[in-house]
């Protein structure tokens, strides 16, 4: 079967490996572009959010390339995203495609549903549960390498001597990660890629600002949706740290890591899950402040209720923890000038604040 999946950041590299390992043909959707956006907006309800539109556009592009099945993730709680898989399916049907959308929900909500869906993928190609486990572990290792390397790139970029070096080396790293086929190879490319990034000429004497990125998962993870915000900030000399990495998220949602702490610090402000990543935006902002970050950028799709709920709470967090927060609402505009202006002003604000704290007069 020809199977596709959402395009998010660098993760298609790991998803591709998983699908191929299960004996299917992986259709990697093209990196989201203006064409994706056009496909998506043409066929979506006007009021749907940006992630919905980009995902639909991606599915349509993958269908043009022959995709017969889409595997995507669901969502819990009062966020429309939980219903998006269903709506995407109906739209594809209306357009005359019989491509099936398989929505993976958290195994904790319904383990039988979860296992049944996996069986529907591995059954037709005759893959045993044993093989599935092996392939999954390998793809999981790859996902972790992708996260490690991207994380490192954001640590190095603000120090690079020549603007653009890190981004260029990072895309070379992705190519070699893509080539790695076995677990020993994956471990090997982890070391090589780290070395490649660490070899970039840098100026460590720079006083860089540290900014945490919080918000809705898709716009945080996909650079096309957030106008390459981490690269833009990095090249302005800002070290960014993203609150969401997929290897974290899956570890959390399968019960390994503590969303508990994030929710706990947010609980004085709001003690209720209100869908999407809203409460995490609040909790992570507080944690960033405690870790000495200079500021936080909240990324939200236009009309995203969980992030809209989080925004006024973040005003209060700013007052209580003395950490400036810039909220950026993202929609289908492709012009970047407005965002650039706001980021520059935000960075000026953070720099002035720091200089004042350190007693350097302006």
């Amino acid at each position: 079967m020809k199977i596709t999946f959402p395009y998010m950041g660098t993760y298609h590299i790991a998803f591709k490996m998983l699908i191929e390992g299960l004996g299917h043909e992986a259709i990697v959707p093209p990196k989201p572009s203006k064409k994706t956006l056009t496909y998506g907006t043409q066929n979506s309800p006007e009021f749907a959010c940006l992630p919905f539109k980009i995902l639909l556009g991606s599915y349509l592009e993958a269908i043009e390339l022959g995709a017969e099945m889409v595997i995507t993730s669901g969502g819990a709680g009062p966020c429309r995203a939980g219903y998006y898989g269903v709506l995407h399916q109906k739209i594809l049907q209306d357009l005359g495609y019989d491509t099936k959308i398989v929505v993976m929900e958290s195994p904790f909500r319904n383990i039988f549903d979860f296992l049944g869906k996996i069986r529907s993928v591995i059954g037709p190609s005759g893959v045993s549960w044993w093989t599935f486990g092996k392939v999954f572990r390998k793809a999981w290792e790859k996902l972790k390498v992708l996260d490690d390397i991207e994380f490192l790139s954001h640590q190095i970029r603000p120090f690079e001597l020549k603007r653009g070096d890190t981004t260029n080396v990072f895309s070379k790293c992705l190519e070699i990660i893509d080539q790695a086929g076995t677990i020993p190879e994956i471990n090997e490319v982890r070391v090589i890629a780290k070395k490649m990034l660490n070899d970039i000429p840098v100026d460590r004497s720079r006083q860089v600002l540290k900014v945490g990125i919080v918000g809705e998962i898709y716009v945080v993870l996909e650079p096309f949706a957030n106008h390459d915000i981490e690269i833009t900030l990095g090249e302005m000399g800002v070290l960014t740290h993203r609150s969401i990495y997929l290897s974290d998220w899956t570890r959390e949602s399968t019960g390994y890591e503590s969303t508990q702490k994030v929710i706990e610090v947010a609980s004085p402000y709001i003690d209720e899950l209100f869908g999407g990543h809203g409460i995490y935006s609040v909790g992570h902002s507080i944690l960033y402040s405690k870790k000495g970050f200079d500021g936080v950028v909240q990324l939200a799709p236009f009309t995203c209720i969980p992030e809209i709920v989080a925004k006024p709470i973040l005003n209060k967090v700013t007052q209580d923890y003395n950490i400036p927060v810039l909220t950026v609402f993202l929609d289908e505009q492709t012009g970047k000038a407005g965002l650039q202006t706001r980021l520059e002003a935000f960075v000026d604000l953070l720099a002035q604040k720091r200089d004042k704290l350190e007693g350097i007069a302006i």
């Binding site: 093209p30 990196k31 989201p32 572009s33 203006k34 064409k35 603007r163 653009g164 981004t167 260029n168 096309f224 390459d228 690269i231 236009f302 006024p312 005003n315 700013t318 400036p324 609402f329 929609d331 505009q333 000038a337 407005g338 650039q340 202006t341 706001r342 520059e344 002003a345 935000f346 000026d348 604000l349 002035q352 604040k353 004042k356 302006i362």
Partner: protein, 318 residues
């Protein structure tokens, strides 16, 4: 005499100022951009040159506004700054102790909070331009009132009507409905001023602590109706600085002065830059799926700058 040039190229107006070393404004020009920033900047330079001639030696140049990068290429700037910082710098110099800056321009509106002379918070209108200068312009011309008289008319209103201010499209249909019901023009115009201020405070000012002294700057500050509506809504006096419509340019001229102090020379291309033949072009790069729109600026036939590409492949070739 030494002078520092500040150029602020926005969506509606292009402003040029020359300040002296003590920040005194020597010359100021407010020109309509009319969608042609290159021409506006060159016209502005000509006017400045005609006014100051050889009497002032330009020691530093700063650019700001949405066309700040383009303008930098045209004139050779020592500092290129976003308009939020530029406005804040000018406001603190012109109105010592200012704590809140309200700024409404052609397409943008912003609020800037300062405490002890440092910017602590700011916001800009997000996806909506309701309540900015362009909308007022459009309504004034629909009602055939010169924009200069718009504010004065509002002050003569006896009972302003309520206009929906959330969205300029809703506001316009609401105005038309009220006008067809027979409300007089003064009351409608005053109602519009109040609606815009309400929208600004809810949308841009959203929950921010507005403390006096408050300045109101940007082109829309010329509108006495809006000023009155702000004072009514906030219950605080709103100060309109003398050079309210060129504050961004003043701020960036001051920043240029600081920048030149450090590096001891200026990149200014001279007033002759107003005579250069600049041309802008663009193309879509087909190198990858990003399909970036790359902008090229030509001086005579030669490419002097390119930008717009995400990967830097075009930017670095000159």
């Amino acid at each position: 005499m030494k002078g520092f040039l500040g150029v602020d190229v926005g969506s509606v107006s292009t402003n040029l100022v020359v300040i002296a070393e003590n920040n005194e404004v020597l010359v100021n020009f407010y020109i309509r951009t009319r969608g042609q920033p290159i021409k506006a900047v060159q016209d502005g330079l000509k006017q400045v040159a005609a006014e100051v001639g050889n009497s002032i030696a330009i020691q530093g140049v700063g650019t700001t506004g949405s066309a700040r990068h383009l303008t930098n290429i045209l004139v050779g700037a020592d500092t290129v700054k976003n308009e939020i910082t530029a406005h804040a710098v000018a406001a603190s110099a012109m109105v010592p102790g200012v704590q809140t800056v309200l700024e409404i321009g052609g397409q943008d509106s912003k609020i800037i909070l300062l405490r002890q002379g440092v910017v602590t918070d700011f916001a800009m209108n997000t996806v909506c331009a309701a309540g900015t200068g362009s909308f007022l312009d459009q309504q004034a011309s629909r009602l055939s009132i010169p924009i200069e008289d718009f504010g004065g008319l509002a002050l003569r209103a006896k009972s302003p009507v309520r206009i929906a201010g959330r969205c300029s499209v809703f506001a316009e249909s609401d105005m038309i409905h009220k006008q067809q019901l027979g409300h007089n023009l003064e009351d409608i115009v005053a109602g519009l001023c109040e609606a815009l201020v309400r929208n600004y405070l809810n949308n841009v000012g959203k929950g921010k602590e507005i403390l006096a002294p408050v300045t109101f700057q940007g082109g829309v500050a010329a509108n006495v109706g809006i000023k009155a509506a702000f004072e009514k809504a906030l219950g605080i006096e709103v100060i309109i600085p003398k050079y309210y419509n060129v504050m961004g340019a003043i701020g960036v001229a001051m920043l240029a002065k600081e920048a030149v102090k450090k590096k001891k020379k200026t990149n200014f291309k001279g007033f002759d830059a107003s005579k250069f033949k600049y041309k802008a072009g663009s193309f879509e790069c087909k190198g990858c799926s990003n399909l970036c729109e790359v902008i090229e600026i030509f001086h005579d036939q030669q490419v002097i700058a390119r930008w717009g590409d995400r990967c830097g492949k075009w930017e670095n070739i000159s």
